[in-house]
Structures are given as structure tokens and as C-alpha cells.
């Protein structure tokens, strides 16, 4: 991306454009360039890629799946540019017959560390319009509870994720769908909405009920409106961030009670298809668990005449090699989920299992059984990956046993760390309960290219940030951010919001430091466990990272020469969002177990000590004349009347 010298608005716009394209498409997406004119996907390049791969001697018997059809997405047609002007929800041409579609898939990726990453995606598409006057009343595949939420609260886009654990980028690489620890919710509202804050409050309460989570704790003190980091992923050209709300609850603990309502949104529930694998006793016996729901409007076809709503439910789990294998690197569906697959979901139009075999083209890392002849290739996170595909809609997949139990036998696992191109960490420095410093480290491990990142920090008000102490340094030199959006906090009303566009030099660590002071809360504002500390949500780093495919243009990998001179545009960079770890910060905490002692002591000190001392210091002492007796007083009166001086 050649935007180093552009004005920052152009960069922002480009970022927005790419975020539309890339995150949305998940692991399958063929990534578009950042150029505003590049709109429609070009099937040639995919075909070309397929040709190249087919040219390799290893894959004679294998069949290539026709992925090109799937790659073409209506999103790109509308989302890539403003010019086609996606039709606002004004007047549908006629009342359409409810056309809906359900797809399910599971991606399994053996990770570098020997752990195994499984990612479920369930997509429901429905060509309907929730915003028109007459209510949508007939639901088939799309869950009614969410449909009603969309129409009642004028939601244009909704993204919600619940995560337990932290994604270990250094060991696992990049996830398909990043999410921060705890709960994250961000919503774009329709621009026709007037009372956004009120709607947001109601919406969080309703979602709290739907997902059995404490989303009702989202209020104005932890809600922000990021100006650049979160752009709509669906169609639509409104990017006014007044209609965006973003909040995280880093403390939210995710458990079965959140999984059950999530499963109920699926058309087949957990009765059939891939969802039978979702048994909570196994899913929560893992190193990482993340479930999410994404709702957005997408184009129905290339011309984008009609829009449809897409509901994407994702669930990502990383199973720990050590915990369940005693070092034996052997995985099967049964071992991971304690279930095997017997059928696809009957209403699903497509039901597939993908297994990432890129590092395993010769079977040197692991072996897979039963073998499948079907292969697929996609560019995921800037890297061209090859997958074995199992199509559950084909009876032959299940074999004679009538059940599919995939078995992966690993050969070895390395314990050393990866060097992902972009990764970040954050911590609190210093000691004591008065001040502190937040350090955010961003690593650019690309050997020769620098790229810009957008850093979003939302810090609760009780950490009073000293914004004048903000420093951004890379390689020992000051690195001036080209764009800073800072919204100061208001005590008990809203958090700090800091957004920066920072250029990361190649092969460097960029450090952002910011000092803060810890506020003393009112005694009713402390949580029931104040000595645990207070959480600060993850910072969000969004970036376009130069892809690995683009990196090895002069690599020795066997490719036709004619295809490898110019790095092909759609692969040159890809969108990555990295979440740092949340922070746990101790605030000055009174000793709540001793209010009685404190009251007694203070009262005593004030009454006895201070009172008497103050009394002594301020009182003026006079020698008091003893009052004369009655007889003397009468005598004095008489003497006064006589004009004689008194006694």
C-alpha cells in the first residue's frame, strides 16, 4: 500500500475500504487491493493459482474444488467503492418471496505449537428488508429474536463476540477472526435513527437477555465512538461515527450459559450437522474459546440491486496439546468434541470441513485419515493456503461406517516462537498506587516494509491519562503519529478515547507510552472485590499488512515466471486486527473491613485531639475577678449615688 505520503484522510478511507473487503470474507476471501477502482473479483487469478498448484507434481490424483464461484461475493461489488451507490432501504421493487440460504463449515488448522485450531462458521443469508413499514413476521432459517432486534433498534450492523482466554499470536499466528478477551460489542445504527444513545442502551439490555451475558453493564462509561478503527463491513456508504457504538467488557466470563443461546440461533440447533460437535464440556476444556455473531447487510448479486441480510455465527476453539494428549500428538473429531459426524444439517445448502494442509503437502507434519481427494485453495491472511475438503452433503464422505471421524496424527511439534508480521502487547509499568504508565508495544516483523497501523485505546475514566506524556518511539527515535483523535474522559460519564495512525518502520518495535494517575473512587463505586483490581479493555490495532505472498516475489518456489514478476494486486496486503491483552490495575482502596474502627478513630481524633488543641490555641485566657458579695454591691451603689469612689 503506497499511502505513506498521502494525506491521512485518504489513508483512512483506504483502510476503511479494505476492512470492508477483508475481514468480511474470513478465511475464504480473495483479498482485493486497496485501490478504489478495483471492484469486481477477478476469477482469472484464482484460476491461475489453481493452475500453478496443479502444476506441482505432488497433486496428481487430487481434484480441485471450484472455489472461484464461492469467491465472488456480492460484498465486494458494493463494499469496495461508493460509486455503485448501494440501494438504501427505501423501496423494494416488490414484496419478495422469503429467500434464505444456510451454509455451515468447519476449518481445522494444526498450529505451529502442536495445538489445534478449529473454527466453525455458520452463515444464514436472507433476502428481506427489516426496515420497511410492515413488519417481517414469517421466519424460516433466520432466528426471529435477532430479526426483531434488527428491525426494532434500526440496526444496520451488529458484531458481538464472547471470548475466554487470550489468542497467543506468538505461538499460533493470526486467527481467522480476532476477538478481545471478554465481551465485545459494536453496532452501526441506521442513519435515520435520532436517539442513538437511548437505543444503544436498550439494545445492550436486550442482547444481554438473548445471550445470557452481562452486556447490561455497558453504559456511557465504557462506550466509545471510534472515528476510524471500526468501519462498516457490509454495504452502505454512511461512515459518520455518530451512528457507531463500541464497547468491551474485559471482565466478562464466557461459559455454557452463553453457548446454549448461541446454539439456539442455528437452524438445526445442535441436533444435526456440524453443530452436533458443540458440546460444552469439551469446548470449554481448551486454551481459547471465542464465539461471535455478526449481522450485516450484503448485496444479493453483482449488480447489487437487492440487499440481503447476512447472519454469521462463528465459534473458534484452540485445543491444548498438553492437556489432553500426554504429549501424544494425535487428534480426532471424537477426541476433540467427543462426537463424530453422521450427517449435514438438512437445511444447509453447503456443509464442509476444511483442513489446512499447506505445511503438509508431502505428509511430513501429520497424516490425515480418511483421506480426501478434494482440495481447495484460498488466500487467507496474506498467505496462500491449501485445504483438504470434506463435503458432508455427499454420502460418500461418511464411508461405510456412516460416520466421519477425522484423525490427524502429528509427527512433531516445535516449542519455539513464531514471528508474526504484526503483533502487539501491553502492560502497566511502575509501582505504587498513585501513578503508572501504560506501555503498548507494536512489533513490525516485516524485513523491509513499513506499514501504518491504527491504534485504538479506550481507557476508563478512573485512570486519569496525562495526554501530554504521550510518546511514540520506534528504534529509539520519536515517531510522530500522522493522525490523533483524542477524546478526554469525563468523570463517571465517559471514558478516554485515543486513536492514532502510526507508521511502523520495518523490523522494529514501536512503543507507545502514556502516564496516568489512579483516581480515588467514591466508596459506593468500588466493586465487591476492589482488591482484585480494575480492568482496562484491550487496545485494538487495525492494519493493512503486506502479505507473505507479496514478500516472496523472488522466492525459489516453483511458479511460472510470467506470473511472478509483479506482485499481484489483490494479494499485496491484507487486513489484520490485533487485540492486546487487557490490563488489571489496582486503584487505591480503603480497608472496607474496618469502617467501625475508622469511624471510631476519626471521631476520637477529631473530638479529643483536634478539638481540645484548637480550643487551647484559639481561646484567650483572662483572670476572672471573683464577683463581690451582695453587701458590697449594695454599698457600692450607695457610694455611687453619693459620688464617692466605690470600694
Amino acid at each position: 500500500m503506497a499511502a505513506h505520503r498521502c494525506s491521512f484522510s485518504a489513508v483512512l478511507f483506504a483502510l476503511w475500504g479494505l476492512s470492508l473487503l477483508t475481514v468480511a470474507r474470513g478465511q475464504e476471501a480473495t483479498l482485493e487491493g486497496n485501490d478504489r477502482t478495483a471492484v469486481v473479483d477477478n476469477p482469472e487469478s484464482v484460476a491461475g493459482a489453481a493452475e500453478q498448484a496443479a502444476g506441482q507434481p505432488a497433486a496428481e490424483d487430487r481434484r480441485w474444488e471450484a472455489t472461484a464461484v464461492e469467491e465472488v461475493s456480492p460484498t465486494e461489488a458494493g463494499g469496495g467503492s461508493d460509486s455503485p451507490a448501494p440501494k438504501p432501504a427505501a423501496s423494494p421493487p416488490s414484496v419478495p418471496r422469503p429467500k434464505d440460504d444456510f451454509q455451515e463449515e468447519l476449518v481445522i488448522r494444526p498450529l505451529h505449537s502442536g495445538d489445534i485450531y478449529t473454527s466453525f462458521q455458520f452463515r444464514t443469508l436472507w433476502e428481506t428488508d427489516f426496515t420497511r413499514e410492515n413488519k417481517v413476521s414469517h421466519y424460516r432459517l433466520f432466528p426471529k429474536s435477532l430479526g426483531q432486534v434488527i428491525s426494532k433498534f434500526s440496526v444496520r450492523e451488529l458484531h458481538i463476540s464472547f471470548t475466554q482466554g487470550y489468542w497467543r499470536t506468538m505461538q499460533w499466528g493470526q486467527p481467522y477472526l480476532p476477538s478481545p478477551p471478554g465481551a465485545e460489542l459494536w453496532v452501526w445504527f441506521q442513519d435515520s435513527l435520532t436517539d442513538v444513545d437511548g437505543t444503544w442502551k436498550e439494545l445492550t439490555n436486550v442482547l444481554s437477555g438473548i445471550f445470557c451475558a452481562s452486556l447490561n453493564f455497558i453504559d456511557s462509561t465504557n462506550t466509545v465512538q471510534p472515528s476510524a478503527s471500526f468501519k462498516p463491513l457490509g454495504i452502505g456508504n454512511v461512515t459518520d461515527h455518530r451512528f457507531l457504538r463500541y464497547a468491551t467488557l474485559p471482565r466478562e466470563i464466557v461459559c455454557t450459559e452463553n453457548l446454549t443461546p448461541w446454539k439456539k440461533l442455528l437452524p438445526c440447533g445442535s441436533k444435526a450437522g456440524l453443530a452436533v460437535l458443540l458440546k460444552s464440556e469439551k469446548l470449554f476444556h481448551s486454551s481459547f474459546h471465542s464465539q461471535a455473531v455478526h449481522i450485516r447487510p450484503v448485496c444479493k448479486d453483482d449488480q447489487c440491486k437487492t440487499t440481503s441480510w447476512e447472519l454469521r455465527q462463528t465459534l473458534n476453539v484452540v485445543f491444548d496439546l498438553h492437556n489432553s494428549g500426554q504429549g501424544k500428538n494425535e487428534w480426532s473429531l471424537f477426541k476433540m468434541f467427543s462426537r463424530t459426524l453422521t450427517e449435514a444439517c438438512p437445511v444447509a445448502s453447503s456443509s464442509k470441513i476444511y483442513i489446512d494442509i499447506t505445511d503438509n503437502s508431502q505428509g511430513e507434519q501429520f497424516e490425515l485419515s480418511p483421506a480426501t481427494p478434494l482440495l481447495s485453495q484460498a488466500v487467507v491472511l496474506g498467505d496462500r493456503r491449501t485445504f483438504s475438503v470434506y463435503d458432508l452433503t455427499q454420502q460418500i464422505t461418511f464411508g461405510t461406517m456412516r460416520s466421519l471421524n477425522l484423525l490427524i496424527r502429528g509427527k512433531s511439534s516445535q516449542g519455539d516462537m513464531l514471528r508474526p508480521l504484526l503483533h502487539a502487547e501491553r502492560y502497566v509499568a511502575g509501582y505504587g498506587l498513585q501513578t503508572g504508565e501504560i506501555h503498548t508495544l507494536m512489533y513490525n516483523n516485516h524485513p523491509y516494509r513499513s506499514f501504518p497501523v491504527l491504534l485504538l485505546d479506550s481507557v476508563p475514566w478512573y485512570l486519569r491519562l496525562y495526554i501530554h506524556t504521550l510518546t511514540v518511539t520506534s528504534k529509539g527515535k520519536d515517531n510522530k503519529p500522522s493522525y490523533i483523535h483524542y477524546q478526554p474522559s469525563k468523570d463517571r460519564v465517559r471514558p478516554h478515547l485515543l486513536e492514532m495512525l502510526v507508521q511502523l518502520p520495518p523490523n522494529s518495535v514501536t512503543e507507545v507510552t502514556l502516564q496516568f494517575e489512579r483516581a480515588l473512587l467514591k466508596w459506593t463505586e468500588y466493586t465487591p472485590d476492589p482488591n482484585h483490581g480494575f480492568y482496562v479493555g484491550s487496545s485494538v490495532i487495525s492494519s493493512l499488512v503486506p502479505s507473505i505472498v507479496a514478500m516472496d516475489t523472488n522466492n525459489s518456489r516453483e511458479r511460472p515466471l510470467f506470473s511472478s514478476f509483479f506482485p499481484s494486486k489483490e494479494e499485496s496486503s491484507y487486513f489484520v486486527r490485533v487485540y492486546t491483552e487487557p490490563l488489571l490495575v489496582n486503584l487505591p482502596t480503603p480497608d472496607f473491613s474496618m469502617p467501625y474502627n475508622v469511624i471510631c478513630l476519626t471521631c476520637t481524633v477529631v473530638a479529643v485531639g483536634y478539638g481540645s488543641l484548637y480550643n487551647l490555641l484559639t481561646r484567650s485566657f483572662q483572670i476572672e475577678e471573683p464577683s463581690p458579695g451582695l453587701a458590697k454591691r449594695i454599698a457600692n451603689i450607695i457610694r455611687k449615688m453619693r459620688g464617692v469612689p466605690p470600694l
Binding site: 482466554g165 486454551s287 481459547f288 500426554q326 516449542g415 509501582y431 505504587g432 472485590d529 482488591n531 481540645s612
Partner: protein, 610 residues
């Protein structure tokens, strides 16, 4: 307090206090000492109890099986240590990685202000290795630390072996809610200091840590030098006399009871015969050892530096003596496993129990509310003397003529200023000179750097005795009666504030200083016999207090030494104090040199007023 507002009754009270001042002071002193000695008497103390609910009621099972394997790892570690002649960084990294930890290293280097002869080091260069066991579903917000030092020679190999064994065992458990950091630190406290500074980015030395586990909740440091031990000793005293929360000691005690391991504190077993004389004196010994260690202000184990960061920490030492009762590594492993599981259950930082306490035995403690009166009784003597002086000062001017009273206060203040300034300058010289002039001293005298520093300190200290009492007479001629009273009033109040503040931070140090300095402050005037008083004053000066403490400490540890050895130990203690200050920021050395010593010089000055 109508008592004070009423001038008649006030006068009566004051005259009572001034008339009976000396007897009251003596009674207070006796009562203070008696109160303190009473603290060790068991019926006067409280039994320890677990205050933290999260650790108290929850049940954990200890299942650590692999003690023998851990010892084998320890032997392997020792072989690699011998081969590399230091920390086997490569081997440790590989081993920790194989056990499924995220492994990082931290390099550090430090140059001491002068060579440390006890540990034979000057330019220190080393590497810390730490592995982080990530809690399965926690987002890196909280951590626990288990550390073992990589000591020279054959020490602590078993500790490192057990640490690695526990790491392997812990890695296969799923119940961790906090990250656990396994740290092997080189050059004991210097390495620990570098690591903590790197972790919290308060850095002056060494590099930063590469990865973290959030805020550290608790830490244990393990010292183990034999395969089989007879008892475990708990060390609590940290930097500047800071102590961890009492619940940590309770946790250790509870698990020792549960698993059946002999446990000691200050190396002393607990005795049940509190009503016998020997039982009582045993408790006094244990408590006095704790007081002496706390007063020294230095970290008595690797845990000592954690306390500054508000991390509750303790050192557990394995002791192998000639007792019959033996404990193997598996049992120690189970004990540690139990402790870590309970710490893992913590919902909040340890805060429920006491932070200020003394322990006459592992099962009994004296809280701040019980021991503070002992110090209060000593401190009140100073206030009584100050009151007495104030009354004496305020009464005479009424009797003298007006012309005299106008001039007196001015000269009083002037004559006050010079000794104050001079004694404090002497203090500053004592603080600065030893390290500044070590090179010059080494050039001119046949001594090593360390000796040069210590001897310079002693020389400055003694020179200070000669300086101030001469100067003020040169300046203002004969000292007046009024003058020394004002000076003594100021000095007494100064000492009261100083000791009060010290006792709040480090009770033991405050109490020991009060024991020796309060009599000095109480009795010294220009009118007492000069030679005898000067002798007493020197005996009760801070340096002599330190010398006696050294002998007393050796006596308490049942390792009495000859005067010659005691003197050498005294010299090394001084050098250690200076080193502790410049390396870890211990406050005892600056406190003594910059505040206590000048204050004592003021009293010396009063003695030689005329």
C-alpha cells in the same frame, strides 16, 4: 479537655509532671521494655488464623508425584552448570520449552559501587531465564511467580530441579486461573532486582522483559540444597523491614501441618512448653531474631524485593540437619503444589490479614496494635522531657529584666542554628564520602576498596565527634544556660518525630533506636560528669548499637563469636549496608547517616556546651 483550659488545674498538672519528671520517665522506660518482653509470652499473643476466605475454605488435593524425577533434573542442571561455569541458559531454555512453557531470557549487568567481598563480585553480568505457563482461559491479567536462584557451587540445584518438575506437572493441569512464571535468577538479589525492574519497567539496569503475565499476585522463592530435608524454614523479612501479608505465612503453616512437614521460622521450631522459663526464652529468641532481621532493613531472601511492588512474597528454605524426621522432594513438591493451588484460587490480592506483625513462633503472632504501645511508652519519655524543658524555658524570662529577654531569643536561635547545620553536614559527609573517596583512600593506604569504604565511614563518624562542640563556642563565646535548653528542646522533639516515623515504617528499627537513644536524650545536660557521660553517650551511639546488635544477633543464632570476629563482622555489615542502599534502595544507611547520627551529635553537643 477542660483540664487544660482551666489555668489552675493546668498549672497543677504541669507542676506534677515537672516535679515527677524523672521518676515518670524511668517508669515509662521500664514499662516499655517490659511490655516488649511480654509480647513473646504466649498467653498474651494471638494464634494465627487464615483470614482470606478464598484460601481458607476451599479444598485442594496435592498429587505431585515426580519428586525423584525432579531431583534427577536437578542433577542434570548441576552438571550443565559446572560445564558452562555459570548459568546454563541454553539448557534451561530447552528444558523449559520441552515442558511446554513460553521461555524468555533477560540479560542484565550491574557494576557495584565497590567490590563486595562477601560474595566476591564487582562487575556483575548475568541472565535470568523465565518460563511462563499460560493459564488456559485467562487473558494474561494475573500471575504467580515461583523462583529459584542459580547459586554458585553446589547450592540450590535441587531447588531448580523441583521448579522444573513442578513446571512440568503444572503444565498438565487445567485448573490454572493465573499465569505461573517460573523464574531462575542468576546472582541472587541482583538478578531478581533486574528482573523485577524489567518486568515493571522501572528500569535502571538490564534489559526489559519480553513477555509478561499481568500483575503478579504472589511469589515464592525456593532454596533447597539437599535431596532430603528435615525441616522447611520460612523467611519473611524483606527490604526495609517490609513483611508479606500474614496470610502467606498462615498458608505455609497450614500446609506444613496438613502434609506433616516440620516447619520453622528463624530456624526455630515451635515449642509447646510456653509456661516454662526455657519455653519462654525460646519464644523471646525467635521474636528477637525477627526484630533484629527486620531492623537491618535488608532482604533476607530473594523474595525481599517483591514486596516493594506490593507482591506478597516469601522464601522457603529447605534445612537438612541431624533430625530423625526426613522429608523427600515429592513431599515438598506436594506442599508447593498445594500452596500454588490455593493462591490460584485467590479472587483478590492478599489483603485480609495483617501486614505489620511480629512472630514469636509460626503459630502465634503479635499484631501492630499489641506491639506499638511498647514503642509509645519509650516515645512518651521524649515528650515529657520536652514539656519539662518548655516549662523551664518559659518561666525564667518573667523573672529577669526586660532588656535581657529581648536579646536572649535571638542569640538562642543563632547558637541553635550552627550545631544543627554542622551536625547535618557531618551526616551528609558520612553519607557521601566513603564511596567518593574510596579510590583516593586505596591510593594512599594499603587497603582494599571495601576496607577503604568502611574505614572512611568509621573515620568520618569519629571525626564528627570532635567537630560540632567546638565550633559554636568559637562563634558566640560561652554557651548560655538558655541556649542549651533551646537546643535540647529542639533535639528531643526532632528525635521524637524521627523515631515515631521510623517505627511506623519499620517498628523494629524504631524500637531498637529508641531503646538506646531515648536514655541519652533524657539524661544529657552540660552539668553531668563529663567523662562518664561522654563514655555512656558513645556506648549508646548508633554505631555502637550496631556493634552490640551484631554480637547479640550471633548470640541469638546460637553462634557466639570472639571479639575479633565480631569486629570483622561489624565492618562487613557496614559495607553490606552501604551496598544494600546503592543496589536495592535500602533506607537504613541514609536514615542513620543523614538523620539519626546528626540527631545524636546534637546531644553530644549539649554535653560539651560549656
Amino acid at each position: 479537655m477542660g483540664l487544660l483550659s482551666d489555668p489552675n488545674r493546668r498549672r497543677a498538672l504541669i507542676s506534677l509532671l515537672t516535679r515527677l519528671n524523672t521518676p515518670i520517665c524511668i517508669v515509662c522506660y521500664m514499662a516499655g521494655v517490659a511490655w516488649f518482653m511480654g509480647l513473646a509470652f504466649e498467653p498474651f499473643t494471638l494464634r494465627t488464623y487464615m483470614s482470606e476466605n478464598a484460601m481458607g475454605s476451599t479444598m485442594v488435593e496435592e498429587r505431585f508425584p515426580a519428586g525423584e524425577r525432579a531431583l534427577a533434573t536437578g542433577r542434570e542442571f548441576s552438571a550443565h552448570k559446572k560445564r558452562t561455569g555459570g548459568m546454563p541458559v541454553e539448557w534451561l531454555m530447552k528444558t523449559m520449552q520441552a515442558k511446554g512453557l513460553e521461555v524468555f531470557t533477560q540479560r542484565f549487568s550491574r557494576t557495584l559501587p565497590f567490590p563486595d567481598e562477601n560474595k566476591e563480585r564487582y562487575m556483575v553480568r548475568g541472565t535470568n531465564v523465565y518460563g511462563i505457563l499460560r493459564a488456559p482461559r485467562a487473558p494474561r491479567t494475573e500471575a504467580l511467580v515461583l523462583s529459584a536462584p542459580c547459586s554458585p557451587g553446589d547450592n540450590n540445584n535441587q531447588a531448580v530441579g523441583l521448579l522444573l518438575g513442578l513446571a512440568e506437572y503444572f503444565r498438565n493441569q487445567i485448573y490454572w486461573a493465573k499465569d505461573i512464571i517460573f523464574l531462575v535468577n542468576e546472582h541472587d538479589l541482583i538478578g531478581m532486582q533486574a528482573w523485577l525492574e524489567g518486568y515493571h519497567h522501572t528500569n535502571t539496569t538490564g534489559t526489559f522483559c519480553h513477555s509478561r503475565g499481568g500483575s503478579i499476585q504472589a511469589a515464592l522463592s525456593l532454596e533447597l540444597s539437599s535431596d532430603i530435608i528435615t525441616s522447611l524454614d520460612l523467611v519473611l523479612e524483606g527490604l526495609n523491614g517490609q513483611l508479606p501479608n500474614l496470610d502467606l505465612a498462615n498458608l505455609f503453616y497450614a500446609f506444613c501441618q496438613k502434609i506433616g512437614v516440620l516447619c520453622t521460622i528463624q530456624g526455630k521450631l515451635q515449642r509447646n512448653d510456653w509456661d516454662s522459663v526455657s519455653g519462654y526464652s525460646h519464644a523471646v529468641q525467635t521474636m528477637m531474631l525477627m526484630v533484629m532481621k527486620q531492623a537491618s532493613g535488608r532482604p533476607w531472601g530473594d523474595h525481599g524485593l517483591f514486596l516493594r511492588y506490593h507482591i506478597e512474597a516469601a522464601t522457603i528454605k529447605g534445612v537438612n540437619s541431624f533430625r530423625q524426621y526426613k522429608t523427600d522432594a515429592t513431599t515438598i513438591g506436594r506442599l508447593l503444589e498445594g500452596m500454588y493451588r490455593k493462591l490460584n484460587n485467590l479472587l483478590e490480592r492478599l489483603h485480609q490479614s495483617y501486614f505489620f506483625y511480629l512472630m514469636p513462633s509460626l503459630s502465634h503472632f503479635v499484631s501492630i496494635g499489641y506491639y506499638m504501645p511498647a514503642f509509645g511508652l519509650l516515645a512518651v519519655i521524649l515528650l515529657l522531657r520536652a514539656l519539662d524543658l518548655w516549662v523551664q524555658l518559659s518561666t525564667p524570662p518573667q523573672r529577669t529584666e526586660d532588656g535581657v529577654t529581648d536579646i536572649e531569643p535571638v542569640r538562642g536561635v543563632l547558637s541553635l542554628l550552627t550545631p544543627l547545620v554542622i551536625s547535618h553536614l557531618t551526616g551528609v559527609a558520612l553519607y557521601m564520602l566513603p564511596i567518593r573517596f574510596q579510590e583516593m583512600a586505596v591510593e594512599h593506604f594499603p587497603v582494599s576498596e571495601t576496607e577503604a569504604v568502611v574505614l572512611t565511614a568509621i573515620a568520618v563518624y569519629t571525626a564528627g565527634l570532635a567537630l560540632p562542640h567546638n565550633t559554636h563556642r568559637l562563634l558566640s563565646g560561652e554557651g548560655t544556660e538558655q541556649g542549651w535548653r533551646v537546643l535540647k528542646l529542639v533535639a528531643v522533639l526532632y528525635l521524637a518525630v524521627l523515631l515515631g516515623c521510623t517505627a511506623l515504617i519499620n517498628f523494629s528499627l524504631g524500637f531498637i533506636l529508641a531503646l538506646t537513644l531515648v536514655p541519652v536524650a533524657a539524661f544529657v545536660t552540660p552539668h553531668v560528669p563529663k567523662v562518664l557521660s561522654a563514655f555512656i553517650l558513645v556506648i549508646l551511639s548508633p554505631a555502637c548499637t550496631l556493634l552490640f546488635s551484631v554480637f547479640f544477633f550471633q548470640e541469638l543464632q546460637e553462634m557466639p563469636i570472639s571479639f575479633q570476629d565480631g569486629w570483622l563482622l561489624f565492618l562487613s555489615v557496614i559495607s553490606q549496608g552501604i551496598l544494600d542502599h546503592s543496589l536495592y534502595g535500602s533506607l537504613v544507611y541514609p536514615l542513620i547517616t543523614l538523620l539519626v547520627y546528626p540527631c545524636w551529635l546534637l546531644f553530644w553537643n549539649i554535653l560539651f556546651w560549656n
